[in-house]
């Protein structure tokens, strides 16, 4: 079965990203396909490569990046939500005249249409939020 995953909250502050990660990992272990993980609202902050959590804590962004690499996951950060909150890739930084970007490996920035598409193409959409 094909799953779409929506993550509405940023890393660490709410458990949403953790629950979404555990769900995604379990789905993959059961042989399901993850059509896309879409990060919306503060969820876009999961995609920063500048995070430095304490050494005895999980690294939420790196964990997503590693899972994406292992399973060719499509991790999509909403462009409008990301712009509001300061999550940019090199293109977005250039387009908006910013001198730095902060997106992590394995994440890409795209439009809300990608969320709608996940709703259409995936057999099930699961929402994790606050």
């Amino acid at each position: 079965m094909k799953f779409g995953i929506l993550v509405n909250e940023g890393p660490y502050t709410h458990q949403a990203s953790d629950s979404a990660y555990q769900f995604t990992k379990a789905a993959l272990e059961k042989g399901h396909e993850i059509f896309r993980v879409f990060f919306y609202h503060d969820g876009v902050n999961n995609g920063t490569r500048l995070s430095v959590p304490p050494q005895d804590d999980r690294h939420i962004t790196n964990r997503w990046s590693a899972l994406a690499k292992e399973h060719q996951l499509d991790l999509v950060v909403c462009v409008a939500a990301a712009q509001r909150r300061g999550l940019l890739d090199a293109n977005e930084a250039k387009r908006n005249g910013k001198d730095a970007d902060n997106i992590a490996d394995g994440f890409r920035i795209s439009g809300l249409g990608q969320l709608i598409e996940a709703g259409i193409q995936a057999d099930r959409l699961v929402v994790f939020g606050d």
Binding site: K30, R124, V127
Partner: protein, 101 residues
């Protein structure tokens, strides 16, 4: 039928009550994250959950229970403890999932 998820403590927010108001007979409810506090015996929410159990399935995510120090024997009878793999199965076996955020 729908799978409803509730991730909020019923002591803090009204999500559980709203969920229970709209959940149809035959649907399922999964308590996760801080939502699992609703699964404990002896609180004001026990009657609500017991009524729900008459015609719905209620599940609680075991890893979230364990994290919060809630022993399985304090869970309301009839609530099924599940892990993340079971959560995946529940999503797959219901027509859609509605998150009561």
């Amino acid at each position: 039928m729908l799978l409803h998820t509730v991730n909020k403590s019923p002591f803090e927010r009204h999500s559980l009550q709203s969920c229970l108001r709209f959940a149809q007979a035959g649907s399922s409810i999964l308590l996760l994250e801080d939502g699992i506090y609703a699964a404990i015996q002896g609180t004001q929410f026990q009657p609500l959950l017991q009524e729900a159990l008459n015609d719905k399935k209620v599940y609680a995510l075991l890893p979230d229970l364990q994290a919060r120090g809630l022993p399985s024997e304090k869970i309301i009878e009839g609530i099924t403890l599940v892990d993340y793999g079971d959560f995946v199965d529940l999503v797959a076996s219901h027509s859609a999932t509605q998150a009561w955020l």
